[in-house]
Amino acid sequence: MRSLKLRMIMLCFATVLTLGLSHTAAQACTKILAGGNVYGNYDCRLTGSCDGWCFYDCTCTDLFPGYSCDDVLTEAGFILSASPKCIN
């Protein structure tokens, strides 16, 4: 019986934590994404948050000769969008 009560408390705790974390995480867009890879360095700045998406503009520096900012960002695993969706 005591074990059942303990499990119920744990379950409630986990539920509250899940709701709280998901609420917080769903709303937050990171302001700056910065890093580098073999093709060069990048910094991406938040331009907006809309319908669960975070939008960024990026600048690349120190490109490896023959490669472009597209290569840096693609290597970093970003989705590149030419046509603005949601934010214009």
Partner: protein, 213 residues
């Protein structure tokens, strides 16, 4: 007991953060040459245009919109120096983490009449820009930092929305006739959009085309 609690916390963190991290999309990307002197890309004056595009309870008298903002210029060298101290990957810097920034303007405004698009617009024009930036710091990749905090009460859906953040953008902008060229930026935008569910979309672009209206 403590081990069980720790296990729950770890599992929840990994599951929820993984599931709910917002999707990321990149719109504009360009390549930087360091510290290229470009005084022609600095406007003498700039304007700040804040818009509350959509508010379900815009016609209700009790609805209001309160906005405070500061606009700063950060010299290119100072910005990239600060960036080099940030951790790789995603980071949420505070304005204090950008030393050497120059304050251009600071305001706090409240609007209680919101029924028309004009009512939901805050325009501050004639902000001194070029004069405040030392000549040697007028380089192509200097940046503008907007620090903002908003409080919106929507009397239709009876919700108060609080949010705050920063936006960073270049001091110049792409030429609409040739996106590979840059021109002096004359307007800094801050756009908000409250959905019918009471969530807030926000942007430093002039328009938000949200699907969830």
């Amino acid at each position: 007991m403590i081990r069980s609690l720790l296990l729950i916390v770890c599992l929840q963190l990994s599951a929820t953060l993984g599931m709910f991290s917002p999707a990321v999309e990149l719109q504009i990307f360009r390549t930087r040459e360091r510290n290229v002197y470009a005084p022609h890309l600095y406007a003498d004056k700039i304007e700040f245009l804040a818009t509350l595009e959509n508010l379900p309870g815009a016609r209700k008298k009790q609805s209001y919109w309160e906005l405070s903002y500061q606009l700063y210029f950060i010299p290119e060298a100072k910005y990239y120096e600060a960036l080099s101290h940030f951790p790789q990957g995603g980071y949420d810097p505070t304005p204090e983490e950008f030393p050497g920034k120059i304050l251009l303007t600071s305001r706090r405004q409240k609007k209680t009449r919101l029924s028309t698009p004009e009512d939901r617009t805050l325009l501050l024009s004639g902000i001194d820009f070029k004069r405040k930036v030392p000549d040697v710091q007028r380089t192509m990749f200097g940046v503008l930092l907007t620090v903002w905090a908003v409080k919106i009460f929507d009397a239709e859906i009876k919700t108060t929305i609080y949010d705050s953040g920063i936006f960073i953008t270049d001091a110049c902008e792409p030429d609409p006739r040739d996106k590979k060229q840059a021109i002096a930026r004359k307007t800094v935008y801050l756009t908000f959009h409250v959905t019918s569910k009471g969530t807030l979309n926000y942007s430093q672009r002039p328009r938000i085309l949200a699907a969830s209206q």
